[in-house]
């Protein structure tokens, strides 16, 4: 057996509406007002969801090992300049700067998240701003986004990312992906309610990357563990009910539990998954 004869057809696409317009004022309000206390609760819950050695302050549904794997798949060398797009408190940026030897810059709209990150003093440069508008001094060798790309129109985001990368630079998107046909009520909950223009499939990300001048190098499906994390986040919330209520309120706890249970249910039904798509910027 010497010839590459394996082949697969294009995957069947789940149907979805066209992307809605981006609304970054709403994204900022979500993280600075509606979810301002969320980081505190997150730090309580997720060491138990992922395991203490797997939680490094990430807001995305990925363990530290999954973030390491995404970074390894980018194949960006130590010393490279890398942008964390939607960095939140910058804790993933600090983690990957240590792990990979990268010089990481983080950018985010949320002033509350950035303030918390600066207070933590992890040494990563954090920029308050919109990636479309900020004038970066140099181009990057790599850009990644973990759990933040959902707030963007992917076609527009990838075009901007291409302009910020050196030729051969790598872009990694680690994000929720659509796996099945989502009805109108669920679509609203998964998009409008979270200020997300769309929920893309991994294949759609791949197609839009190609249009924007990238070559897809890797697609990594982490859906199996994502479902475990989702189910576990409901269990842990129930286990930590007293602590969560003490830190916030009974109303917050009930709302948070209902949202987590809803998302776990959508994932369990096979409508939502999680994937990393890593692409190379073509010259």
């Amino acid at each position: 057996m010497t010839a590459e004869q394996s082949r697969t057809a294009a995957p069947t696409q789940a149907k979805a509406p066209a992307p809605a317009p981006e609304d970054f004022a709403a994204v900022q309000a979500l993280y600075d007002q509606t979810m301002a206390d969320n980081a505190q609760v997150h730090d309580l819950i997720y060491p138990k969801v992922f395991g203490a050695d797997q939680y490094i302050g990430q807001f995305s549904d990925n363990s530290a090992d999954e973030l390491r794997l995404m970074a390894a798949l980018m194949q960006v060398p130590a010393g490279a300049r890398v942008l964390d797009l939607g960095c939140g408190r910058g804790l993933v940026a600090a983690f990957l700067a240590r792990e990979m030897g990268w010089t990481v810059t983080g950018i985010d709209l949320s002033l509350a998240s950035l303030a918390a990150g600066r207070k933590a003093g992890h040494g990563v440069e954090l920029i308050a701003g919109n990636v479309y508008e900020h004038a970066f001094a140099e181009r990057f060798d790599g850009i990644y986004s973990t759990g933040a790309a959902c707030h963007f129109d992917a076609a527009r985001l990838f075009a901007r990312a291409r302009s910020l990368l050196v030729p051969g630079g790598r872009l990694a998107i680690f994000e929720r992906v659509r796996l099945g046909d989502i009805d109108a009520a669920d679509w609203r909950k998964l998009t409008t309610d979270w200020t997300c223009p769309h929920v893309y499939t991994a294949a759609e990300y791949g197609e839009l990357l190609t249009v924007a001048g990238f070559r897809v190098r890797h697609v990594l499906d982490t859906t199996e563990r994502f479902r475990t994390w989702q189910a576990r986040s409901v269990e842990v919330r129930r286990e930590l009910r007293r602590e969560i209520v003490a830190a916030t309120s009974q109303e917050y706890f009930e709302t948070s539990l209902a949202l987590a249970a809803y998302e776990a249910d959508v994932s369990r039904k096979g409508l939502l998954g999680y994937a990393a798509v890593i692409a190379e910027a073509l010259p």
Binding site: M1, A3, E4, R7, P11, D65, A72, V219, D221
Partner: protein
Amino acid sequence: MTPPLHHPLLEAGDTRLLTVDAVLAQGDTGLTRYRIVRFAAYGRALLIDGLIQSCEFDEALYHEMLMSPAVALHGHPRRIVVIGGANGGIVNRLQHLPSLRGLHHVDLDPTLAGLCRYHLPHLQPQEPFSFDYRLEFEDPRAWLARKRGDLGGWADLVLLDLPDAADTSYAAGVFDMEALAAAADLLAPGGLLVTHVGHCHPAAISFQAETVARLRRLFADVVVYEHPIPSLAVAWGFAIASRDRSLNRFARAAMARRIAALPAAMRRHYDAETHLALLHRPAIVRAALDAATPIPVPTHPTFMETTT
């Protein structure tokens, strides 16, 4: 719906269709074009250059047939070199060998190894190890050339767990005379080299014939055996080679005691009865090998039978 996968059985003209439940990862590391899928029939599987390397359903069968007969034949390997296999399935079994003191391991692609650690956990060893373990990522052919001096005469067992020697694969460069000779130089007195030698389909067996012919030119004795691997749809061939001892004992009943002494993790599918069947090669395969053998096999100088 994930589309089915067309998997080549032979170089050309025979392709089978496998139902894929999920594509877990796919891409190109720059060194390897890979796909990790979940087959409906065989569970999680790694494909390199479109060819199945292992499936969850029967990877234990494949890996045991590769390593367990050689370990049983040697009896107490203390120092082992593994070429390839960092994607899993080898060290997770060797780690149970009580005799093992040192293991040098080289493979090509650290990125693929990382993906396999994530998506193929059933193939991975559990650390910490009770022996000295050194894993390096480098082209195995270059590593063999580099280590030929330092590790010359070091290993009781040299185990080649390589992908198919496809034209696009680095493995083709490890199956040639020069690299096999370098691997042979790593062997201690009484040491054994073991490798797969490709599939046993009588319609296309030239790789096996050529590889075995090379081994017979380099080694004093070579034993070739085969076992059906369901997920590969054919029997697979393996060879054990020695520079300085007869391998006659491979066919002897005394092997039963050595097989029974193997760690349980190395004999889920390999027992004394299976061992006896390994050497019974079908006439059609023997005839195909005879017809495909490219060069006359020279008679090797006299060797001494050891008593290990």
